[in-house]
């Protein structure tokens, strides 16, 4: 098996949650997250809004500071890099955001947006070759090279996402992070973009970290899947193992809730306490999921479970699912 492209170890991200009495309150968005990402693989990352998925992605790219942990690639800690060295590294690590229209500069022509990565990463490239590469990339993502002269507002949401993908691909990244990249698109367009990402991956051999709350889309693209709940990883498994035999009660709940239209609608017990965390709620001691877990035992309140292997590549953070 190939060496990991990216190793994330013990990552912790905190935000200032306003000032309480005495000292500033801290909100822990990502806590003790560790995983490997291999070259060329697609790793799915699922969880509810507020579970820390996007923060984790941003921390990997050093777009938000991590207070603890390491993100290493080729033995180098990316979180320790600054300035020119960091910029060089970002050539390999690109991201596509959910809201493509607002992630593009409205005052820049599409061609200029795509030229920017070349100017930064390959300043030696001349104007003629630059334009040729921009044209080829636009064509590759399903747009016309003529569109280089247009502004983002002339495009639909799906087309803007194609432009954002083209911009990310210009530097030839080894890892593309897709942060809810298809979530705001209509289903008919969503499939087009997912297929485009998978085609690009097959052609370039890049790895993807595919973040989505949509389990069916994650199942389509991922080799392995990570499940996040309130800042922590609760389960990590190969795709088929996760969907066929989810071990963490939260993963089970997520999969049960993701019904397909022609399948019997999932009947969720109406008496289920709506126990999603209210904004800014303080994480309880022990397992963070225990307040909504149907299987919670006394041990779950006493100490937090740790992510532990139960099978090949299958890890779960649950006192009851993992061997003692």
């Amino acid at each position: 098996m190939s060496a990991p492209l990216l190793q994330v170890e013990g990552l912790r991200v905190e935000f200032d949650a306003g000032r309480g009495v005495g000292r500033p309150k801290r909100f822990v968005a990502v806590e003790d997250v560790s995983f490997d990402l291999r070259a060329g693989e697609t790793l799915g990352l699922v969880g509810e809004s507020g579970s820390g998925k996007s923060t984790l992605a941003r921390a990997i790219l050093k777009l938000v500071p991590a207070v603890r942990g390491r993100v290493s690639s080729d033995g180098e800690n990316l979180l320790a890099l600054r300035g020119a060295a960091l910029r060089r590294r970002r050539r390999d690590l690109q991201i596509v955001f959910q809201d493509a229209p607002s992630s593009l500069d409205p005052r820049m022509k599409v061609g200029d947006t795509l030229a920017e990565p070349l100017e930064i990463f390959e300043p030696a490239v001349g104007a003629r070759e630059r334009d040729a590469r921009i044209g080829r990339m636009l064509e590759r993502v399903g747009l016309s090279p003529r569109m280089a002269g247009s502004y983002p507002h002339e495009f639909s949401g799906g087309q803007c996402q194609r432009i954002a993908i083209a911009r990310a691909m210009m530097s030839g990244p080894k890892l593309l992070i897709c942060d809810e990249a298809v979530s705001s698109l209509d289903v008919s367009i969503q499939g087009q973009i997912v297929n485009l990402l998978q085609d690009l991956q097959r052609e370039t051999g890049m790895a993807m970290l595919f973040i989505s709350h949509n389990l069916a889309v994650v199942r389509q693209v991922s080799r392995r899947v990570l499940v996040m709940y309130r800042g922590r990883l609760v389960e990590a498994a190969p795709r088929d193992a996760l969907f066929a035999a989810p071990l963490h009660p939260y993963t089970r709940e997520l999969i049960a809730a993701a019904q397909s239209p022609d399948e019997a609608p999932a009947r969720i017990a109406p008496g289920t306490a709506d126990d999603e965390p209210a904004p800014g709620a303080v994480a309880p001691s022990g397992c963070a999921f225990r307040s909504r877990c149907a299987y919670a035992a006394p041990v779950c309140g006493e100490r937090a479970p740790r992510l532990a292997p139960v099978a090949v590549e299958h890890l779960v953070s649950c006192h009851l699912a993992a061997p003692k």
């Binding site: 949401g157 367009i189 499939g191 397909s260 969720i268 999603e276």
Partner: protein
């Protein structure tokens, strides 16, 4: 049975610069008492504009045609005083984003009770007692404490339950729910759908459910209207629609949804192209440029809605075989 809400030939258009943008084109739909009718389609198909037209909430630059008959009167022609008496009481709406449709500076109890004080002339004390009872019925945990809280102190799912409860306070005949679960996480979404299902059983309220999400619709609706580019392209019972989609757009929409089980395909099914620009004049079938079965006739001649087998009505020259 005569419908409780009857929308006929509704058109909504906006003036945008020198062009006129047609958002809704001659849409007719009816809702029977106690029925849940879904309106599905992708963004820009006009589904939300229909809700806003029914509620009289369209902006001033909208041009509206047709009629919306509710409780024996055409709401489009009714004076504001009549609308104000009907809205929130007999005809209620649940919006997609409960965060921005609740008043941020009023306690939950106050804004719920206000509905009854305004429409039923209840006293505040009675109204608050009724609001508390309603919160319990829509399964808001710890309801007494929630009454004293502000919207920002509640989670998204809880806020949407409050919205549902608020919409039901005056026991409306019809609730319009515009993407009621779209802003919620999957597990919470399933719970809110279950709450809507219960409310329907308990209050016999008709629901107009507007959604882009076929799985939400499948779990709740009796009948479904599928919209494309401002028009209804297919209407059928939910059972017929999901078992035998007849319009190629309906079928494509279902095929595009990735599955949570079964074999994983190498590629997702897609629908090529994108919806037409609403400012452009459409002569033939609006879906023809994206349709795998389109013929020359489809580009020239707009297909009318016509009845097919079972409960299905579809606007297609060559409907798919059943």
């Amino acid at each position: 049975m005569s419908p409780i809400l009857n929308v006929e030939n509704l058109s909504v258009a906006f003036r945008g610069g020198d062009a006129e943008i047609a958002a809704v084109r001659q849409v007719s739909l009816e809702v029977a008492a106690g029925e849940c009718v879904a309106v599905v389609g992708e963004s820009g198909c006009g589904k939300t504009q229909i809700c806003l037209a029914i509620m009289g909430l369209l902006p001033a630059n909208a041009r509206v045609g047709g009629s919306v008959r509710f409780d024996g009167r055409d709401l489009l022609a009714a004076p504001r005083a009549h609308l104000n008496a009907v809205r929130g009481a007999k005809l209620a709406m649940i919006f997609q984003d409960p965060q921005s449709s609740l008043t941020p500076h009023l306690r939950i109890g106050t804004q719920m009770a206000e509905v009854l004080v305004e429409h039923r002339r209840s006293g505040w004390r009675d109204a608050e007692a009724a609001a508390l009872a309603m919160l319990r019925r829509v399964r808001v945990p710890d309801a007494a404490r929630r009454m004293r809280q502000y919207p920002h102190e509640l989670s998204g799912g809880m806020r949407q339950r409050v919205m549902i409860g608020m919409s039901l306070l005056c026991e409306p005949d019809v609730v319009l729910a515009d993407e009621p679960t779209t802003a919620l996480d999957a597990t919470i979404q399933a719970q809110v759908i279950e709450t809507l299902r219960e409310m329907r059983r308990e209050f016999r309220t008709s629901i107009v459910l507007v959604s882009h999400d076929l799985s939400v619709v499948a779990g709740l609706a009796d009948r479904v209207y599928v919209m494309y580019a401002g028009r209804v392209v297919e209407c059928a019972s939910a059972a017929d629609l999901f078992a035998h989609p007849r319009h190629p757009y309906t079928a494509a929409l279902m095929n595009c949804v990735p599955r949570i089980s079964g074999p994983v395909p190498a590629r997702l099914e897609t629908l090529p192209g994108q919806p037409p620009n609403p400012a452009e004049r459409i002569d033939g079938c609006a879906f023809a440029p994206r349709c795998a079965f389109a013929t020359e006739r489809c580009a020239r001649e707009a297909p009318p809605l016509r009845p097919l087998e079972g409960s299905t009505v579809a606007a297609c020259h060559q409907p798919l075989p059943r």
